[in-house]
Amino acid sequence: MKKVILITVLIINLLTLTLAGVSYYTYIYNERRRPVPSLPGFEPEEIITSENIGLNKPLSSPKDIFIDKKGNIYIADTGNNRIVILDSEYRIKNIIVSFNNNGKIDSFNSPTGLFVTDDGKIYIADSENGRIVILYPDGRLFRIIGKPVGDIIKKDFVYKPLKVAVDKLGRIYVVADNVVEGIIQFSVEGKFERFFGSNRVEVNPIELFWKRILTRRQRQQLALFIPIEYRNIATDKDGFIYGCVRAWNNQVKRLNALGDNIIKQEGRTGNVYGDLYFGFTVRGEIVDIALDESDNLYVLDGRVGRIFVYNTLGDFLFVIGDIGNQKGQFLYPNAISVYKNKIYVLDETKTTITIFKPTYFGELVLKANAFYVQGNYGKAGEIWKEVIKLDTNYDLAYIGLGKNYLHNEDYLNAMKSFKLGFYPQGYSKALRGYRIEYMRKNFSKIMNFFLLTIISVYIVLKLKGKNLRRKFLEYLERSEILKTVLYAFYIMFHPFEGFYELKKKPMAFYASFIHLFFITIISLMSRFLTGFHFNPYRPEEINILSDIVLKILSPIFAWVIINWAITTIMEGKAKMHEIFITTIYALVPSTILTILSIILSHILTYDEIAFYSMIGTIGSIWSVSLLIIGMMIIQDYTFTKTLGTSLLTIGGILFVMFIGMVFFATFQQFIRFLYTCYLEIKYMIS
């Protein structure tokens, strides 16, 4: 006999909130993965408690909620072993305590998961009874699905189904406790089909061989998967299965029919869901997920108490909520559901359901986003403009605007927007368009300019060429240092003679310092003046001094000193200052090509990155060759010996770095220890 208790409550006294402002801090992540303030996308609208819906027995450790198509709310009241159903006005519609199972009255034991299909059938994960109970909307039993049986299932498997979901075809997916093989998939009739959503491993020949040899039993126990433990599952409006797992990244998966993860992660936060980092006292844990009509993803972290909202491309939209005792804050939120545009969050400890609705800002973003993910950049752009007006930190709006400008071929504005929103890929595309446009518009002007330059240079050379040349050479004769500096160009093309002669030049040492100065300047220029898309950085993050010391000077001096040490042992004939000179002169071609790179970076785009890198590679190879040749000359080594000592030098540098780090770490510990002692003494005395 089914027993259904119907309670009609006449007066609803819900805690409807009239808030002015939200009680939690809201932020978005910038390109450096740091939080910046941002307007809240959702605010709390109602809080449902056991008392204000009129439950005689209050909820106890409720572990799941589900909202069906009509807005009815299903609560798995786990501690009371029952299912509470509310209608869309939050009045009690039904409380299911038991059901008729073949003439006997049967009830639940710790129902922890719920799902309702479009036809109204209720699927309950009756965890301690090891079964899925399926009821008709009126509470009659439809079917019970028990423990899965199959070859792959171990005989002593303890089946404890925690969460359940159903796809559009009626297949049933179960997350069970202590199962690392994935989600258990049942057919419509309830027969075990397979483990779903685990990372499939390609079978290699060796495994195939072993499979032939081993007995059936042994084969069964071969692991053919990477262990993965699901925490919860959900479906979107098309019936795709989404699952969340315990992990530090890739915590949310969207599974296709094969069980492969096809979720898009094109956003800035990449494959990490939830907060990108944590403090020392709380580590995040994704406990549930939900999807809305536009396929936006809502991720609930039960430990930090926050709901993270992403669009279908993986862009981070909002974060709301917190742990605490203010409205919109939780003690232990464990289930989330989305209906129309509202978010429902169940708090197991507070035994309440908090309902969030979008703020004005949130509505704008969601509207713009709906157009944006469909590629309707124009309509999205109009709304993104409003978003930026309200919240200047909202990078996605700048990116959305940039894409709109790009689409309309307004390249300059696109570049500006992409820079503000920090989106190098977009910037590169815009730059390409801008370049083509610029070329097209000013083609004649550019051509004329070139022709004019070539003609005038030719004329000048023709007329005054000899004169100028003579004057220059005279000046060169007088300034020994200038000659030595310019000698670098000769060395670039005639290394063997060049280095040999360089040994004899008296001004070589001072000339090297002049070269070192230019090398430093150009390296810095490369850092700051390279085009945005090849070198994305925020200028305020750079520290010139540390750049100079760490990235330019230290490697050079490290190389010189250690090389000297090694080559002295290996019977090299060069003195330290000679090694220094040789090293600096060898760096000249690389530096000159860096200048070319800087210029090109403002003209080339991502697609031409191969060409851009090639310039850098040519420079490096050139310099390295010069260095080796130079070493050969000054040390009087053979080629192999030069290579050998160079490799030893690099090894030496690494060794020194290692020793340095160990020393530094130990030293730090020591200082810390002294400081702690000092503090303790200080507090004891005063």
Binding site: T16, L17, G21, S38, Q326, T351, E540
Partner: protein
């Protein structure tokens, strides 16, 4: 036989009915009688007119489900939190240790009684006085009556924790001074929620703390109250407010009663971080802060005085309580009518400039960026005037060299990039000629950079361990310090007057009549730099003296409106228009607005920084606040690279139309309500509130999406209407 029986019955009758035996009368005046019950150790006050009795604690406390220390705190007059050197807390209460063991003496004093508690075993003494007055009682703890034991120090005192209490069957609410005010209804259900204890006038930044504070409005007024069935009590802390917290708990939090009471900190505990170590839970990566406790060498040095006002019948509601508080403030000269006419102003704050991270020829640098020059300010004001705004208060910030949030305003050092001396004078003249009150902002509490006569080493506040008392930006993800930004400091409270006076001197030279003091109305902090240690009370006194001098010749603008700046305020900005929305708070009430509307003008947070524009606009109208915007001339994106990246939107071009729209919407209403005090406020139904002014104007605000009908008129969803008389 019969005679004996009659005699017996009579005796029993007399015994039962005589209050005289157990309840001893100690004082009586025109309105009240003060009783004390020796056996229960309970105070009782009888209101003669209504015959209502106000008892110190609930009668049925012994049947309550609570146990142990919590249970015996119910009938106690005082609960004392004692602490030893290691920081272990021991709880004493006057019921168990005093009343039930007889360790107390009662003395009759003028208009009341005094109870001297003496706990011989613990070697602890404390006294409490109850004095009857015309509106209720005054409770006083004479500070020199407190004698601490040798090995334990007195940290906190709970005063009459269950005097303002009720149970779930009672009808009514607690009145919490959270932000604008909040009520905790008894008949509402909250799920499993916790109560809270919050400091009055903000957290003390003279004590170090290591976790981000929750996002709350803060307690601005030293009051608390209860409405229970047909009686109400309002508590006003007259002395000791700077060292007090307000504690609020619901039935189910340890006991079965709703209660609200003040908790006074007699001696502070300063906690210093020694180091972080692995937590004992064994969870990988979990770390706890190992703290050293230092008990403050100085203690509260003035009496604790709390006045309790009793209200009955129709007067038992929060509107009446607010009016009583208003009268109290007027009678004591704390607030004066600063509003002389119905010319209500539009409040505009402009920021001159701020330091931002940018590049100079490819080299990164932190440079001053002009956001609104003086000429641009004139342009913005012209635009507003053209569009019909008649009266404007202009609060100008970030005019000094280095801009907003950089150096101290030790005098007025104009930034050349904003137009220098010339541009500034032009702006001042424009304001004078166009009915614009020019208010110059002084930054003398929070300073980011050394210079201008301010050095961190010499002039910044310190902790008890001599470390500089740094202020930090906080990381909302980890709730710990955000080390991306440099920390800054508070000025030594004793030195604030010096810098303020120098500022005034320069302001005089320019003929400026209005000044704004940042932060002073938001929080108050203790000075812990040896040898000159000052409690928050002492600091309030010092600032009070200086402000008393300044207010004679200047109009002063404060933010947030802590009680101690009320006597000197001509305008309060960032005024609380909401409560902190704790789970146990049923709704927010306009307690503070009712107290000062019509006397001191106020605005909530700037319209361009609202989290929910429509809702907060409606709240502005419901609570009678003025429109307020903080804008700049340049694009909002400049703030992204500054320390003030909470400024999400500030470009005047984005807001000028909305600001004007807002001004127009409230124009007719404010013209008739600006100088009128509020008579009452109540909730009519779900999402609909009514504010009634003394001059008969009724404002109905409908927060629902759907329209409602009031007095036959339709009020659209998310809008308001007003009715005359």
């Amino acid at each position: 036989m019969k005679k004996l029986l009659v005699f017996l019955i009579l005796t029993i009758f007399v015994l039962i009915n005589s209050k005289g035996e157990t309840y001893q009368k100690f004082a009586e005046n025109f309105n009240f009688v003060l009783f004390f019950n020796r056996d229960k150790g309970e105070i009782e006050i009888l209101d003669k007119k209504s015959n209502k009795i106000f008892k110190q604690f609930p009668d049925d406390w012994e049947d309550d489900f609570s146990k142990g220390i919590m249970k015996f705190s119910i009938p106690s007059q005082l609960v004392l939190e004692m602490v030893n050197d290691e920081g272990t807390v021991t709880i004493y209460n006057t019921y168990v240790m005093g009343i039930s063991r007889g360790n107390y003496q009662i003395k009759k004093i003028n208009d009341g009684l005094r109870i001297d508690y003496d706990f011989p075993t613990q070697n602890m003494k404390i006294s409490i006085e109850f004095i009857l007055n015309s509106s209720g009682i005054t409770v006083r703890i004479p500070i020199n009556s407190i004698k601490e034991p040798d090995n334990l120090k007195l940290n906190k005192i709970w005063l009459l924790p269950y005097f303002l209490s009720a149970n779930k069957n009672d009808d009514g609410y607690l009145v919490v001074p959270d932000g604008s005010g909040a009520i905790v209804r008894f008949r509402e259900s909250y799920g499993i929620e916790r109560g809270f204890e919050l400091p009055i006038y903000g957290y003390d930044y003279g004590l170090p703390f290591y976790d981000m504070k929750p996002k709350i409005e803060g307690i601005r007024l030293p009051i608390f109250g209860i409405k229970r069935n047909d009686t109400a009590i309002l508590g006003i802390i007259k002395s000791g407010d700077c060292s007090a917290n307000i504690s609020v708990y619901i039935a189910g939090n340890a006991t079965g009663y709703f209660r609200i009471y003040p908790t006074f900190t007699y001696r502070n505990i300063h906690k210093f971080l020694l180091y972080e170590r692995e937590s004992s839970t064994g969870q990988a990566g979990e770390v706890v802060d190992v703290l050293v406790n230092k008990i403050s060498p100085y203690s509260l040095n003035r009496d604790i005085i709390v006045d309790y006002y009793f209200l009955v019948g129709e007067k038992a509601n929060y509107s009446e309580m607010a009016k009583i508080y208003r009268n109290y403030l007027i009678n004591n000269g704390i607030i004066k009518k600063r509003i002389k006419d119905n010319d209500y102003p539009f409040n505009l704050s402009l920021i001159g400039g701020i330091k931002t991270k940018s590049t100079f020829l490819g080299i990164p640098a932190i440079r001053f960026t002009a956001l609104t020059t003086f000429d641009q300010s004139v342009e913005i004001l012209k635009r507003l005037k053209e569009k019909g705004i008649k009266k404007i208060n202009l609060i100008y910030k970030g005019y000094q060299k280095g801009g907003y949030l950089s150096k101290i305003t030790n005098g007025i050092n104009l930034e050349d990039k904003l137009g220098g001396e010339e541009g500034f004078r032009k702006l001042l003249n424009y304001c004078k000629e166009n009915n614009i009150e020019f208010i110059l902002n002084a930054e003398v509490i929070e300073i980011h950079e050394r210079g201008n006569g301010f050095s961190f080493e010499r002039d910044a506040n310190r902790y008890l361990n001599n470390g500089l008392a740094f202020l930090y930006k906080w990381d909302p993800v980890t709730k710990k310090k955000n080390r991306d930004y440099d920390p800054w400091v508070n000025v030594l409270p004793s030195k604030v007057p010096y810098y303020l006076k120098n500022f005034i001197k320069d302001a005089k030279k320019y003929g400026i009549k209005g000044i704004g003091i940042e932060n002073m109305g938001d929080y108050i902090y203790s000075q812990n730099k040896k040898p000159n240690l000052l409690s928050r009370e002492d600091v309030a006194n010092i600032w009070n003296e200086t402000l008393n001098e300044i207010v004679k010749n200047y109009n002063i603008v404060f933010t947030h409106g802590n009680y101690y700046v009320l006597p000197f305020s001509s305008l309060i900005l960032d005024f609380p228009l909401d409560c902190s929305n704790f789970g146990i708070e049923s709704e927010s009430i306009p307690f503070y607005p009712i107290v000062i509307h019509g006397y001191i003008p106020y605005s909530g947070k700037p319209g361009n920084l609202r989290e929910n524009y429509k809702r907060e606009f409606l709240r502005m109208v419901e609570y009678g606040a003025l429109p307020f915007y903080t804008l700049i001339y340049e694009d909002s994106s400049y703030f992204r690279k500054s320390i003030y990246n909470e400024m999400l939107s500030s470009c005047y071009r984005d807001w000028i139309d909305k600001a004007l729209e807002e001004y127009k919407k409230v124009e007719v209403l404010y013209k008739i309500t600006y100088d009128s005090p509020i008579k009452s406020h109540e909730k009519i139904m779900k999402g609909v509130y009514r504010t009634l002014y003394e001059n008969g104007i009724e404002v109905i605000v409908n927060y629902n999406y759907k329209p409602i009908i009031y007095k036959g008129i339709i009020i659209e969803g998310e809008s308001f209407k007003f009715f005359k008389g």
